[in-house]
Symmetry: D2
Subunit: 361 residues, 4 copies
C-alpha cells in the first residue's frame, strides 16, 4: 500500500475519541470518515477532529471504497453485526474490547473475517502499554526467572455511558468491561500458554440500584505452565483510575503502576481542570497524569495496527485471542455462579456471560 | 497484681528473640526464665538477654511459682501439649501463631484454659501493627464508607528453621505460616463478622525439592456482611519481606505498605549490615527499615498482653479467635484440593490442614 | 536516683502537649506539675493530662523540691529568664528549640547551668527520630562512603501561635523556627565537625501581611570536613507537614521521608478527623500518618533525657549544641541580608537574628 | 516546504544517537547525512542508523544542498565554529546544550544566525519532557497559585566521554553539563522573567583525580518576579540517573520525578541488560525505566524543531535563551569563587566559566 491507511471510525464516544487522537499521531494513517447512529454525533465528531465524511449509518461508511480499515468502538451487543458487515465490505477491522456477547457470535465473526481475508485485530491496549511492554521484556530476558504469579488490576468508580450498566447490552459488569484486559494481558505477558482453569468471585456491592452487573470481581486463573494469575477489577474505587501489574518469578519480581506510579504529586487549594480519568475533584492532593493516551499504549497500538494494514503484517493480538478471552470470561461467570473452579476449554451456548452467574445463584 | 508481670519464655528461636526484645520495652514486665529443649540454647539465650533462669525442660519453667505468664514460640506440632501443661500449671498464656495442628487440639486447648481460668492470648501482631491500627481507625470512623474489599499479603523467600518446611510439624506451608495472619487481620479489621466461605489456590512452585507444603497461596474469603477478602502469601518472593494491606470501601480506599512504604531508600556500593528481614544482599538499591519490631506491632502487642495480665483485662485477640483462624485454614486447604469454595462453619477431623489439599488432589 | 524522675512542665501549648504525651510513655518519668501564665491554661492542661499540680507562675513550680527536671516549651523571648531561674533552683533542664534570642543570652544560660551543675539538654528531636537514627547508622557504618552532600527540609503552611509571627518574640521567621532543626541535624548526622560557612536566601512570599519574618528560606552550609549541607524551610507549603532528609556519599545515597514516605495513602469522599500535622482537609486523597509523636522522635527523646537525669548520663544534645545552632542562624540572617557567604565563627551583638537581615537590606 | 525536512547530524556520540532515534520517530524528518571527525565513526553510525551519507569533515555535510537542518551534538569547545559555518551554509541549526564556552562566542553565533536568517534552536529537552510540560500547564492554569520556589536537579555518577572531564573543552564541570538544564527549565517554567541574581556552591568531592571541574553544585537563583529557584547537580550520585523538579506556589505544590517516579520497581537475582542511564548493576533492586528517550522529551523536542523548519514557525527555545543560560552560568562560577550573590546582568570577558571560580579561589 503506497498511500496512508484510510481509516473509518465506527462510534463517536469516549473510546473513539481516544482512537482518533491516537490515529492522528500515526504518520501512516488518515481518518477518512466517522459513523455514529445518534443524529448529530458523527457530524460533531467529524468537525472536532477535522474528518472529511460522517454518517449516521455505518453501512454508508463501509460503502466508501477508499477506506482500508475500520476501527470499531461501540456497545458490545452490536459488535458482531458490524464486524460481519465490515468483513463483507472487505475492510480490515480493529475491534475494541470485549469481543462480543457470546461464543456463537465470536465464531461467526472469526469465520467471516477469515473468509473475507481481512485482518481482524483486537484492540487490547495493554499489549502496547509502554511500561508493560518493558515489563514483558524483563520477564522474557530471564531477569525474573520462571514466572510463578502474575497480577493485573484495573479500578475506577464506574463507566459513564449507560450501555455499560445494562447487562443486556454489555453482557456482564466489570469483568466484561475490564477483566477482559487482564485475561489478555496475562496471556500476552506469558507467551500465550493454554489456560487451564478460572475461578471468580463477583459481587454488586455499591451500584445495585443501577445495574445487575457485578461492580467488583476477583479472578484466579491457572495456566498450563503452572503460573497462577490474579485479576482484580472494580467499578467502585474512588479517586481516579488505577491500573497496576506485578510479575513474580523464581528469580525476581517486578511491580508496575501506571497511574500513581507515574503521576506528578500535586496539592492544589484552587483545583484544576483534570488530573486523570475519573479522578473526581482536583482540590487537595491529586495524582496528575500526563500524556495519558500514550502512557496507556493507545498510540503504539494504533501505530501497530496501521502498520499491519499498510505492510500486510501479522498483528500481535487478533480476533483469535479475543475469542480465548471470551471463553475465559464465560468460565469466570460460571465459576462465580457455582463457587467452583472451571476447567478449560469451556463451551457454552449461553447468550451472554452474566447469565451463567445469575442462573446458578 | 502489684509487681511487674513475670514472664517465662518457652522457645529460643527467631520469634522468641523478638518476644524478648518487645518485652524488654514493657515497663510492667520482667523476663524471669527461658526454656528450650536443645542443649545450650536456653543458656545462651538467657545470657544474651540477661534472664535469670533457663531450662531445657519447659515443665521446670512451669513449676516456677513466680511466673505469671508464659509466651510460647515453638513449632506448631508442640503447641497443644505445652498449652495444656501451662494451663494446668495456672499460667496465663501468649501463644504464637498459628494455633496448633487441628481442630481437636484447638478444642482441648480452649477447654483447658477455660477450666484453669487462665487467659489464652493469641499473638497475632497485625492487630497491633501501628500502621494497621490507624487503618482500622480510618475504617471505623466512616472515612472509607462501608467496606467492600479487604486485602492483606505477606511475602518473603521462605523461613529459616527446618520445622516450617516439614508439613508433619507445621501442618502446611505458607498458608499455615502466613495466611493465618491475613485471616485474623481481616476479622479484626472488620469487627469480626462471621466467615461465610473460603476459596484457595495453592501451589509449590519453587521449593518442591524442600517441602511438600505450598510456597504460594491466594485465598478469597467472604464474610457474612458481604465483604470480600483476598490474602496473598508467598515463600518465594525475593528482595526482602513484603507486608501490605488495602481497605476498599464505598466512600474511599486506604493503602498501607509496612516495608517499602516506610523504608529509607538506600543505594550502597559498599553494602551494609542489614536492610530488612530476609533482604538478601544490601549492595545496590535496598529499602532500609528501622525499628522493625515496633513497626510490626510486637512492642504494642506484648504491652497489651502484659497489661491484660497485670490488670486482669480482656485481651483483644484470644484463643477463640485463633480457633476461627484454624477453621478457615482447614477450609482453605480443602478448597485448594477440591477447586471449590468451602462454606463455613467447616468441621473436619483431619489431623492437619495440608492433608485436605493432598488427599483431594 | 531510685524514684521516677519528677518532671515539671513549663508551658501548656502545642509542644508541651507533645512533651506530656511523650513523657507518659517513659516508665521512669512522672509529670508532677505544669505552669502556664494565662489564667486557666495550666489548670485545664493538668486536668486533661492528670497532673497533680498547676501554677500560673512558673517560679512556684521551681519552688517544688520534688521536681528533678523541667521541660520548657514557651516563646523564644522568655527562654533565657526561665532557664536562669530553673538553674538557680537546681533543676535539670530540657529546653525546646531554638535556644533563645541572641548570643549574649545563650552565654548567660550556659554559664548559669554550668555553675548550678544542672544538665542543660536541648530538645532537638531530629536526633531521636527513628528513621533518621537509622540513616545515621547507615552513614556511620560506611554504607554510603564519605559524605558529600546532606539535605534536610521541613515545610508546612505556618505556625498557629501568634508569637511565632512576631519577630520581636521569635527572633526571626521560619529559619528560627525550623531551620534550627536542620542545622543541628546536619551537625549530629556528620559527627559534629566545625561549621565553616553559611549562606542563606530568605523571603517573605505569602505571609507579608502577617509577619516581618521570612516564610521561606534556603540555607547552604559548609563543614570543615568539606561536606555541603542544604536546608530548606517553608511556612507556605500547603497539604500538611513535610520532613525529609538525604545523605549523599562517595559510595551511596540514602533518602528518608518522614511523612509521605511513611503514610497510609487514603482516599476519602467523607473526610475524617486528622491526617497529619497541618494537613488541612481530609476529603479526597490524603497521606494519613500514625503514631506521629513516636515517628518524629519525641518519645525516644524524652526517654533519653529522663534516663540522663535518672542515671546521671551525658545527653547526646546539649545547650552547647544549641549555642552553635544560634551562631549559625545569626550567620544565616546576616548572609541573607548581605548576599554573601558568612564564615564561622561569627560573633555578633545583634539583639535577635532577623535584625541582621533587615538592617542589611 | 513540501518535502520531509532533511537533517544532517554533526557528531556521532551518545547524544547524537539519541537525536537520531528521536528524529526517526518524526514523520516529517529524514536523516540525510552524518559527520564525525574520528575515522570510521560516521560510517559506523550511518550504517547502524541507515543513513545515506557520512563524512569525517562536517563541512562536506554543510555543502550538501538538500540538507535543511543540522543537529549538532559535539564537545562544547567546537560549538561556535560549527554554528558559524552552518549559518554561513544557510542551514537551520539545532544546537545541543550548553551553548558554547563564553559570551563572545555566544554573540558571534547569534549574530551569524541572524544575518544568515537561519533558525537557531537550542536543544533544551526539559522544555519538552512530557511530565514537566504537564507541570507547567498546572502552574499556568493557576492550580498552584503564584510561584514561590522552583527546584530542579539532575544527578548521575559522571559522564562517559573524556571531553566532559577536560575543563578546557567543557568550560566547567557539572554546572556547565547539567546546571544549564536547570537554568533554562526555570526560565521556561516561569514564563522567562528576567534573572536577578545567582549564588552557587561548588566542589570537587569525588573526582578530583580526574578533573578540575566541580562534581557537585548547588545554585540559588532569584528572578525579577520574586521567585527563588534551586538547582542541584551532581556527577557523584550512584545508582542511576536522577531528574526531579518541584514547583511550590501560594496555593499548592507539585512534585515530578522522572526516574524513580516512573520506573518499574524490579528485583532480579539474575540481573538484566539495562535499567536506566548510568544505573550500574541490575542485580538486586533496580528502577527499570522504559521509553527513556520519549520520557525525557527528546522525541517531542525533535518533532517541534522539525515542525519549525518545515512550517517556518518560531521555536519555543532559541539561541537567545541559550545566551541567557550562559550568562547565568558565568555568574554561578563567579559566585562560587567569591562566595557572593552575583547580580544580573553579568558581563565578563572570561574565556570559559570555570575560570571565574578558579581565579577567585
Amino acid at each position: 500500500m503506497n498511500h496512508p491507511v484510510h481509516v473509518g471510525l465506527i462510534g463517536s464516544g469516549f473510546i473513539t475519541a481516544i482512537h482518533a487522537e491516537a490515529l492522528k499521531r500515526c504518520s501512516d494513517a488518515e481518518i477518512t470518515a466517522v459513523a455514529s447512529p445518534t443524529k448529530g454525533n458523527a457530524a460533531d465528531f467529524a468537525k472536532k477532529h477535522n474528518i472529511g465524511h460522517h454518517f449516521t449509518d455505518y453501512r454508508k461508511l463501509l460503502e466508501m471504497d477508499e477506506i482500508d480499515l475500520v476501527v470499531i468502538g461501540i456497545p458490545n451487543d452490536v459488535h458482531c453485526q458490524v464486524v460481519l458487515d465490515a468483513a463483507a465490505a472487505g475492510k480490515h477491522i480493529v475491534l475494541e474490547k470485549p469481543m462480543c456477547l457470546n461464543l456463537a457470535e465470536a465464531d461467526r465473526m472469526l469465520d467471516a473475517c477469515r473468509k473475507a481475508e481481512v485482518k481482524f485485530m483486537y484492540a487490547e491496549e495493554l499489549c502496547f502499554t509502554p511500561k508493560y511492554v518493558r515489563m514483558k521484556q524483563l520477564l522474557d530476558s530471564g531477569a525474573l526467572g520462571a514466572p510463578v504469579l502474575i497480577k493485573q488490576s484495573e479500578k475506577h468508580d464506574g463507566p459513564h455511558a449507560p450501555h455499560f450498566w445494562d447487562v443486556n447490552r454489555a453482557g456482564g459488569g466489570v469483568t466484561m468491561d475490564m477483566g477482559c484486559h487482564a485475561v489478555e494481558f496475562f496471556r500476552w505477558m506469558l507467551g500465550r500458554p493454554p489456560l487451564k482453569s478460572v475461578y471468580a468471585q463477583m459481587g454488586t456491592h455499591v451500584h445495585s440500584a443501577k445495574t445487575q452487573g457485578e461492580d467488583n470481581a476477583i479472578l484466579i486463573l491457572e495456566f498450563a505452565n503452572g503460573v497462577t494469575a490474579v485479576a482484580e477489577e472494580s467499578w467502585t474505587k474512588l479517586g481516579g483510575m488505577d491500573d497496576r501489574a506485578e510479575v513474580h518469578g523464581s528469580k525476581g519480581v517486578a511491580y508496575a503502576d501506571l497511574l500513581h506510579g507515574n503521576a506528578i504529586e500535586t496539592y492544589s487549594a484552587a483545583g484544576y481542570d483534570y488530573a486523570v480519568e475519573k479522578a473526581g475533584s482536583t482540590v487537595g492532593w491529586s495524582f496528575t497524569i500526563y500524556e495519558e493516551i500514550w502512557n496507556y499504549g493507545f498510540v503504539d497500538e494504533m501505530a501497530h495496527f496501521v502498520d499491519c494494514v499498510k505492510h500486510d503484517k501479522q498483528p500481535i493480538v487478533t480476533g483469535d485471542d479475543a475469542r480465548v478471552v471470551m471463553e475465559a470470561l464465560f468460565a469466570a461467570y460460571h465459576s462465580a455462579g457455582t463457587g467452583q473452579k472451571v476447567m478449560l476449554p469451556f463451551n457454552t451456548t449461553a447468550a451472554k456471560p452474566i447469565d451463567l452467574w445469575k442462573k446458578a445463584q
